[in-house]
Symmetry: none
């Protein structure tokens, strides 16, 4: 599991984990059917509580990215490429939407914002 936790970011740990695993699934770094390490294993590895990971897992399951089978473990869901791409879009779009009204209030329309992004982050 490639998970990096930042305690200083202010972002909840479970959310960091959720986002990183979700990203790995939608970008196919984790492919469908793959068994995830047990929550206890990861908890020990990252030195955090089992519950924190479980919370991330619940979110992943809700989105349909993983299936958890009590007594057997958790597995990356089998999702066709089209749907995967759709979820990838949604994840990015949702994040952007949260701030879009702020950008707009600053006077940045979609077009101007797009230009700025290329300028700032290329």
């Amino acid at each position: 599991m490639d998970i990096i936790i930042s305690n200083s970011s202010g972002q909840p740990i479970y959310e960091q984990i959720y986002e990183q695993i979700a990203a790995q699934i939608v970008t196919k770094k984790l492919s469908g059917g793959t068994a995830l390490p047990s929550i206890r294993t990861i908890a020990a590895e990252l030195e955090i509580s089992v519950i924190t990971i479980k919370k991330a897992w619940e979110e992943l399951e809700r989105v349909g990215l993983i299936n958890t089978m009590a007594g057997k473990g958790c597995f990356v869901a089998q999702i066709d490429d089209g749907h995967l791409e759709q979820i990838r879009c949604e994840l990015a779009k949702k994040k952007l939407s949260e701030n879009m009204s702020f950008y707009r209030s600053l006077g940045y329309g979609a077009k101007e914002l797009a230009e700025k992004i290329e300028e700032w982050f290329t």
Copy 2:
């Protein structure tokens, strides 16, 4: 004061106020020297605690967008247009930066992201 508060967004109220006032200043809807309504007036208007507004004001002062004059009230700082534009950029850039690593982990480079923004939010 044009301030709209959302209780369901999860974003702290003081932050919502801070962002909205900041946006109005950098887009010159509030011009330099303008006196802001008293904290109590706004608190009554928005039906929230004065503490919450105080916190927003502190943020604004910290960034240099307003000046508090003891006993007289708060005033929009006198800032030249160039500097104002710079702050406007910074506000947007900072917000974007917070999520940029997430977008990258989803496989979105600056270019692709810019395209998507135009597609989604135009």
Copy 3:
């Protein structure tokens, strides 16, 4: 709060709470805008853990039946009657759906099942 918990039913406590509150909201026993008691208060009352209630609350929020405002409390969402009725239907339909395939495998079609229900539970 009218909540009755059964420890012997096998059904998770948080789910029992969720269902009972949800039912009270969709049947308008709790009307929109009503402030719910703090999770700590209820926890003390029912002698269960705060977390258990929080989990029920999260589910209620996800369905849109309540709004939780950090630092202020939780409130029954303002939902118009039509939507409320729709949610009420969905709750019942979802529960039924879980078992419908079992009824079908027993040879009960929708019609025969409906007759039996009137016969058994009137």
Copy 4:
């Protein structure tokens, strides 16, 4: 054996098996005296643990739908049609009863529920 296992339903596998076999017996798809395949055969077929099947068999035996003969295997019990029909009813009624109080708390009486079932699942 016509058994279909769902890993995503949340329902324990042994219970899924129990319900499906029970349904096949009470609807006479499996007739009295029929020998069930050995536990190991089914385990291999369904790719699950023998323990899981054993548990389902125990349930079936407890209800009297099958008989285990040491060293010979399991056989569908010889039950007369009247009794079979009675068990069929009981199985459906028991499942329904589990949720009836929830439906009632949602304001659905037996009559209204029956109508809804015809509407939703016909």
